[in-house]
């Protein structure tokens, strides 16, 4: 398997990834595919997507995240988006977008807590 351009780490039953570069469309789709492939391979029950390094999130990226969440849900997993920047959150709600199907948390640590809480239910 080709090494994904954005590192996806495994920690216990869940995957953690934190894109550090601006995701142009091709890269975003590649990223999504890499994540989904990894989830299948590792049978991960959760994904923590750390977007703290992303300074602009537009409709395209929102859609990719939505697709990750939907596909992951079909496979029985949960996605937590963490570290959303205030200005990005502001722009998203103003445009009328919502990140459907994902949980949110303030940082990586809290994100993992959220996942564990969900799994304990």
């Amino acid at each position: 398997m080709e090494k994904p351009s954005i590192p996806i780490l495994k920690s216990g039953d869940c995957l953690i990834t934190s894109p550090q570069v601006a995701l142009h469309d091709k890269l975003a789709v590649q990223f999504k595919n890499d994540i989904l492939q990894r989830i299948v391979e590792t049978k991960a029950k959760g994904l923590v997507l750390d977007v703290s390094a992303i300074d602009v999130v537009d409709s395209f990226l929102v859609r990719q995240i939505g697709e990750i969440a939907a596909a992951s849900s079909i496979m029985g997993g949960h996605v937590v988006v963490v570290g959303l920047r205030p200005e990005v959150a502001m722009a998203l709600v103003e445009m009328g977008f919502s990140l459907e199907g994902v949980q949110t948390a303030i940082n990586l640590e809290k994100g993992l807590e959220v996942l564990h809480k969900i799994w304990r239910r």
Binding site: P86, S98, T104, I106
Partner: protein
């Protein structure tokens, strides 16, 4: 109004013989162009006499006086004042003539207006009718240019005041109170308009981003006089934005009349946690944080 020394009837200066207007305008433009150096030198001389140019270098005086003179001529020739507006804006913003005060600049322009006017008079004085017609072309242009100049200064001043005001309002409008570890409160009193709501949201989101743990924000709107659709929707968006960042915002103090207004406006409050009083809001927050307030014996 100059009264002629002859027996000719006195004509109001606003009367023009239309057919000749364009021709006269061209004649006037050419006249002022050909005599540019003479008129401009006279203008500079008079300004120097009034001490207006003391803070300017000779180069700047030369350059800017030429630009202003040519710009005025352009307005006369083309009937377009865009160049004048651009230059006036740059004066107001201190991009040029930084060392001159507003008062000095306006006086300088008034002197130019006089110098032009006198020149025109001296040229046409043997033909009072023609002078009146030419003056009728010149005066509106001169007036408009001066108007543009003063307006530019006024606009700049108003802009500065507005910015200062906004900064002051910003300081007052987003008071975020730390109530407990993990709990913040934003009490809103008075009028909540879009601008203020935006300020508050931005401050709140910024505050949340700086925290290491999730917060419960209590937005208390009990003190708001009235609420409109725009503001209500903005508050809802803020709740969602806070949630996207992994925290939570609840709303307290929605008075019955405000609640009715919101329902009438069709605002969907489902999914938003609300409580009547600040106290109940706090109880919710503590409950979420698994905190309990007990009396010590």
């Amino acid at each position: 109004m100059l009264k002629g020394k002859t027996q000719e009837p006195i004509i109001e200066s606003t009367v023009l013989i239309d057919v000749d207007t364009q021709k006269l305008k061209r004649e006037l433009s050419t006249l002022l162009e050909h005599n540019a150096e003479e008129i401009r030198s006279q203008w500079i001389k008079e300004m120097q006499g009034q001490g207006l140019l003391a803070a300017l270098s000779p180069t700047e005086t030369e350059e800017q006086s030429k630009v202003i003179y040519d710009t005025c001529l352009l307005c006369l020739k083309t009937e377009s004042y865009e160049a004048a507006q651009k230059y006036a804006a740059s004066m107001a913003k201190k991009a040029v003539l930084q060392t001159m005060t507003v008062d000095q600049i306006i006086t300088g322009l008034l002197i130019l207006r006089d110098v032009y006017g006198r020149f025109i008079f001296e040229w046409y004085q043997k033909n009072p009718t023609k002078w009146r017609n030419v003056n009728g072309i010149y005066e509106p242009v001169a007036r408009r240019i001066l108007n543009i100049a003063t307006q530019a200064f006024v606009a700049e001043r108003e802009s500065t005041i507005k910015q200062l005001q906004q900064q002051e309002v910003a300081k007052l409008s987003a008071p975020i109170a730390d109530v407990w570890e993990g709990v913040i409160m934003i009490p809103i009193v008075g009028v909540l308009d879009s601008a203020r709501a935006k300020q508050i949201t931005e401050s709140l989101l910024e505050r949340i981003s700086r925290e290491k743990t999730e917060l419960i924000a209590i937005l208390s709107i009990g003190g708001i006089a009235a609420i409109d659709t725009k503001t209500a929707n903005h508050i809802l968006r803020t709740v969602h934005a806070v949630k996207l960042m992994g925290s939570e915002m609840i709303i307290t103090g929605i008075r019955p009349d405000v609640a009715t207004t919101l329902v009438t406006l069709g605002i969907d409050l489902s999914g938003i946690v609300t409580r009547s009083t600040m106290r109940e809001g706090l109880e919710y927050a503590f409950d979420k944080l698994k905190l309990k307030v007990t009396k010590t014996s």
